[in-house]
Amino acid sequence: MQLWQALLIALLGYFGVNRVPWFFGQSGGFNGIAQPIVACTFIGALFGKVSEGLAVGVALQAMYLGVIQPGRALPSDRGFATFIGGSLAIASGTGVEGAIALAVPLGLLGAALFQLCMTFNSFFPHLGDKAAAEGDRKGIVRAQLLAQIPTFVIYVTIYTIANYYGVELVQKLIAILPAQVTKALSIMAKILPAVGFAMLLKYIITPGKEWMLAFFVMGFVLIKNTSFNIVSLTLFGIGMAVMFVMARYGGELGGKATAVEGGDDYDE
């Protein structure tokens, strides 16, 4: 890999950090150009391999489906998996297999770095406090912008070095890894989403509302056993939600459905 390619990947990777404002904030960066399906296509273009890039992007995107970040729990960092794992897999020609094998261990490392940066960044609100006490608006903005410096330096450095020196290493690594480990890592790619979905369940199902788990099971069973697709399932889900809300709270909403007497303390 050429240095300029590594630098461009690193720059794109910096845009993919949750906290970077430059491209429509979190929406355009973290949730936009830095998501695997988009980023890997760009990276593929850098090496003249758009279709390989897209294939790696689609595989990583599918792997990270459901790995969202509710609260502060991040099980696996998508940035590392994309801008080190994905880019090295594309550049080294190891493709989807390489990307998935690298994603799991890199995702863990990236999650640790995320924790470190979030702790480190606690310095900046104190700069903001000082500015607020003096009524200094520009000082508040300055505190926000200064917080970009450590993020920029840390991520650009790591991504550049990993990409510039990583290609040969990855080729060697994939060649010497026992087949069982490579196989285990690709199986992990199909298990990893469960870690994210379960975390999501924890956040949606608040204590005392464990009965709501039944709806998760319902959606799972419908997709596995019928020809429902996700869009039809969503519409079905909205229908079920309306049914439940009307049956439970219909009276209070002024609807015609009968409110279930005494149903109010059901979940307490």
């Binding site: 404002p21 429509f24 904030g25 979190q26 929406s27 355009g28 949730n31 998501q35 399906i37 988009v38 279709s51 897209l54 689609v58 599918a62 969202i68 609260g71 099980p75 979030m118 702790t119 480190f120 606690s122 900046f124 609100p125 903001g128 500015a131 508040i140 903005v141 926000q144 917080a147 285990a184 199986i187 992990m188 199909k190 298990i191 990893l192 989403p193 469960a194 870690v195 379960a198 999501l200 369940l201 956040y203 949606i204 199902i205 608040t206 709806f215 998760f216 099971v217 959606g219 799972f220 069973v221 419908l222 997709i223 596995k224 996700i230 869009v231 399932l233 939600a241 439940f244 809300v245």
Partner: protein, 269 residues
């Protein structure tokens, strides 16, 4: 109604600051607190020409603040409406402003994470993956428009709506309404998330029992019980470990990785 001091342009500018900077400098101590202050800092300067009042206003918005940023964009909008009310002598106190902000960020984090973070984003990603699986770039374009573009418009629109509502928001968003909306959206979200989990979690057992000519695949037996039964049991089991045994996601990931390697070595998976 209250007198308007802020022009539409002031509010729009604040709405865009929110879109660009709401996660800037995010940190464990205050999460999005500094960004919240940044978002309101310019209109507040106009609302409080007296420097002492302005200092107080900035300081009260340096507190801890954390929510889901897409739907939660309505909160800085509402708060700006309330601040304008207080500055122009309406019956709004500092306690009411801070109370509203704290009372809203929790429910919006809950609804937002399940509705936007999980359900909406996963549906869009699923469709994009489907469109691009054959090598078409259409999925990438679709993804950029709906995963990145639409949320930008939602953030901007909800901020503006929140400002318009101002005090009215307090009558609209009561605890009862919050409960109904959270439950309803929670149900719709859970059903969809269940389906997406069924599509992306996939465990296949490789173990076969051979005795002479007879080979029985364990996976075939499991499929007869219910397709995907292992994946469902694993997901629910992890949820149980998180919520009852306080497991962290990282712990679950490491344990699963080691178990998988052992299972592959033994030929189970």
């Amino acid at each position: 109604m209250t007198n308007k001091v802020l022009t539409k342009k002031d509010v729009q500018q604040s709405a865009w600051t929110n879109v660009f900077f709401h996660h800037c400098a995010q940190n464990y101590e205050r999460m999005m607190g500094l960004a919240f202050c940044h978002t309101l800092s310019k209109p507040l300067e106009k609302l409080y020409p007296n420097k002492e009042d302005y200092k107080k206003a900035l300081q009260r918005h340096m507190n801890y603040y954390n929510t889901e940023p897409t739907l939660g964009s309505i909160i800085p909008g509402i708060v700006l409406g309330l601040e304008e009310g207080m500055a122009t002598g309406a019956n709004v106190t500092e306690e009411l402003i801070l109370g509203t902000k704290t009372a809203l960020m929790g429910p919006f984090a809950g609804i937002g994470d399940s509705l936007i973070g999980a359900t909406y984003a996963s549906i869009i990603a699923s469709i994009a993956i489907g469109l691009s699986e054959g090598g078409s770039l259409l999925g990438v374009l679709f993804f950029l428009i709906f995963h990145a573009g639409v949320p930008v418009l939602m953030k901007y629109g909800l901020f503006m709506k929140g400002y318009e509502l101002g005090l009215g928001a307090l009558d609209l968003i009561t605890p009862k309404v919050t409960e109904i909306v959270t439950t309803g959206l929670g149900i719709a979200g859970l059903i969809t998330v269940g389906g997406i989990a069924a599509n992306s979690v996939n465990i296949q057992v490789a173990l076969t029992y051979t005795s002479g000519e007879l080979a029985i695949s364990l996976q075939a037996i499991l499929d007869r019980i219910m397709p995907g039964v292992l994946s469902l049991v694993l997901t629910i089991g992890l949820w149980w470990l998180y919520s009852r045994k306080n497991w962290s996601a990282v712990k679950a990931l490491v344990v699963l990785l080691l178990t998988t390697i052992v299972c592959v070595y033994l030929g189970v998976l």
